[in-house]
């Protein structure tokens, strides 16, 4: 079992620097989730950890040893490719068993591993099919299976559940978590699903354009985002941003949401952006502010209410089944303790 230590990593495609001097320490046995917008370099980072692309600078240590130039096979890594990369001429069973077979794992052991992975991934009836005869989600599961049977020290998962239905995804999420708990290997996991990120991660890394924005536990990243980008990136529906100006007293805020802050947090005259998550807004008749409902999105177990606050939209999460319709004027209040405050210029958290 081994941690991964990345220092000053930079990767270029031609002139396009995709990873820019990235430092990252993944602890042994950690479940690290990579989050970031499409094209920010997550897959590239995984590929470089696996040794599949040449780095243009920096170093990668795995389990304490410098692996910057090591062969992928030497790194003790299992990986699920975003594009699956299944062996098209082999059956599902062969796809999964090929690696261990070559590695000389005893036959019985291979069979056991494949059977277990297939069972877990619900692939058992498909073991003798070729990839071309599978549906998208089935292919993805084969890709997961192929990585799992390797029982490597470090697993790299690149959006492994993106093409699965919610139910299966939930099951596999649980299985992966169990697996991780049992084996104790290091996991680096790319996902776009925030539920996945929240439930699986011991820490979350948020990236943007090849640069790490914040590293922290799910709660830290969600509740105390380091900057505007992280705040806006996490959470669905997204956090509400409201501009505000600090008054002369250095406490009271001017703008559409006048508030009083604790002393010393901000400077007089400073331009701020307030981040308010929709679930921290309460619709209550004695609320301090009022706004008009623009749109209501029913979501099954909750509804999202979009209100007009000044010039901008403001979303509120409502959990009770009360009927709200567009045009209603409602009073609301916010939980000030959960408020995030950012400097409008540097976009950093204050």
């Amino acid at each position: 079992m081994s941690g991964v230590n990345i220092q000053g990593l930079s990767i270029k495609f031609g002139h396009n620097e995709v990873i820019k001097g990235l430092d990252l320490q993944v602890h042994e046995g950690e479940f690290l989730v990579l989050l970031g917008p499409s094209g920010c370099g997550k897959s590239t980072l995984l590929h470089s950890i696996a040794g599949l692309i040449d780095v243009s600078g920096g170093s990668i240590h795995i389990g304490g040893a410098d692996m910057t130039d090591a062969e992928p096979a030497e790194r003790g890594i299992g990986m699920v490719f975003q594009s699956y990369a299944l062996y098209p001429t082999m059956t599902v069973e062969r796809n999964m068993s090929f690696g261990p077979r070559v590695a000389g794992v005893p036959k019985a052991e291979i069979e056991r591993r494949v059977a277990r992975a297939a069972e877990m991934l619900q692939l058992t009836p498909l073991l003798s099919r070729k990839p071309a005869q599978l549906s998208g989600g089935q292919r993805q599961r084969v890709a997961i299976g192929r990585a799992l049977v390797r029982e490597a020290g470090v697993f790299l998962f690149d959006e492994p559940l993106s093409n699965l239905d919610a139910k299966l995804r939930a099951e596999l999420r649980r299985e992966l978590k169990l697996l991780h708990q049992n084996l104790g290997n290091t996991m680096i996991y790319v996902t776009h699903d925030q539920v996945e990120a929240m439930t699986l991660a011991s820490r979350i890394v948020v990236m943007k354009s090849g640069v790490i924005q914040q590293i922290g536990t799910p709660a830290e990243v969600y509740e105390t985002p380091a900057n505007l980008f992280v705040a806006g990136f996490l959470g669905a529906p997204a956090i509400n941003f409201v501009s505000a100006q600090v008054g002369a007293d250095g406490r009271s805020l001017q703008g559409v949401l006048p508030l009083q802050l604790a002393e010393g947090r901000v400077k007089a005259g400073q331009s701020l952006v307030l981040g308010i998550r929709p679930e921290h807004v309460r619709l209550q008749s004695d609320g301090r502010w009022r706004a008009t409902v623009q749109l209501v999105e029913p979501m099954g177990n909750h509804q999202v209410v979009w209100m007009k606050l000044g010039e901008q939209s403001f979303s509120v999460l409502v959990h009770d089944g009360r009927r709200i319709t567009a045009g209603d004027e409602l009073a609301f209040d916010i939980e000030e303790s959960a408020l995030s405050i950012f400097d409008a210029g540097t976009e950093q958290r204050l």
């Binding site: 590929h47 062969e71 890594i77 990986m79 062996y87 001429t89 090929f98 390797r150």
Partner: protein, 291 residues
Amino acid sequence: MKRRGLAAWGALLPLGLIVCVGYVGTVLWTLRTSVSSSRTFPKDDFVGLQQFERLLDNDRWQHAIHNLAVYGVLYIVAAMAIGFLLAVFIDQKVRGEGVLRTAFLYPYAMSFVATGLVWQWVLNPDSGLQNAMQQMGWKDFSFDWIVDQDMVIYTVVIAGTWQGAGLVMALMLAGLRGIDEEIWKASKLDGIPTWRVYLSIVLPMMAPTLATVFTLLATGVVKVFDTVVAMTQGGPGTASDVPAKFIMDHLFGRANLALASAGAVMLLLTVLALVAPLAYARSRQKAQGGH
């Protein structure tokens, strides 16, 4: 569905014409000629299967067919193996790829009339390799296959492989470069040794290319002629004779069109007998589903 077929058939029209007129036509003509008594010119009399009887009676033809089998198997195996190896090694991002590729391919560009002669010299025990080695002090070195009745066909295999392996390499190289890089990455991660990747993953993925190469070589085998003529003239004696040489001898020098046609027909029937079961099996497999 119907319109779809129409456009494609339209595009296949020239091919259809070529097949019907060029191939079916000439095959029928050859068939017709093979049951006549034509000599220099085609005659339209009918002599039954007389030419075929003569053919089957002929030692030289029998021997030629036997040689063809030996040559065919060895040549195809050798050319494919060497061609594939060369392609694999050239594909290792080596320097001077262009020069190497040309070095392997140039035999294909040279008229075999001249290169066959060079092979004849090189293999000749008096002037060639054997002599050179013995002069260099390697007294026991002996390599005289080309003058040996039983071994001469193998020298034809050597020269044929030398000539054909380059083309196989080019085809294989094109096939290799078509393999998705991600597959390579996946297999690297799986820790599969390179040779094993080639053998177990790349080679199966190149099945269409292999089929192309095989067919190409097989047609070359059946028609092999220049190589033998330039190197051995079918000799010593008729030891390295091949059917195409037999056919050509009768077509031109011996002015026996009918017998030559019968030879061509026999050759075609042999191919058909080898290919038909294969094609049948494949079509059955397709009908039963799967791909």
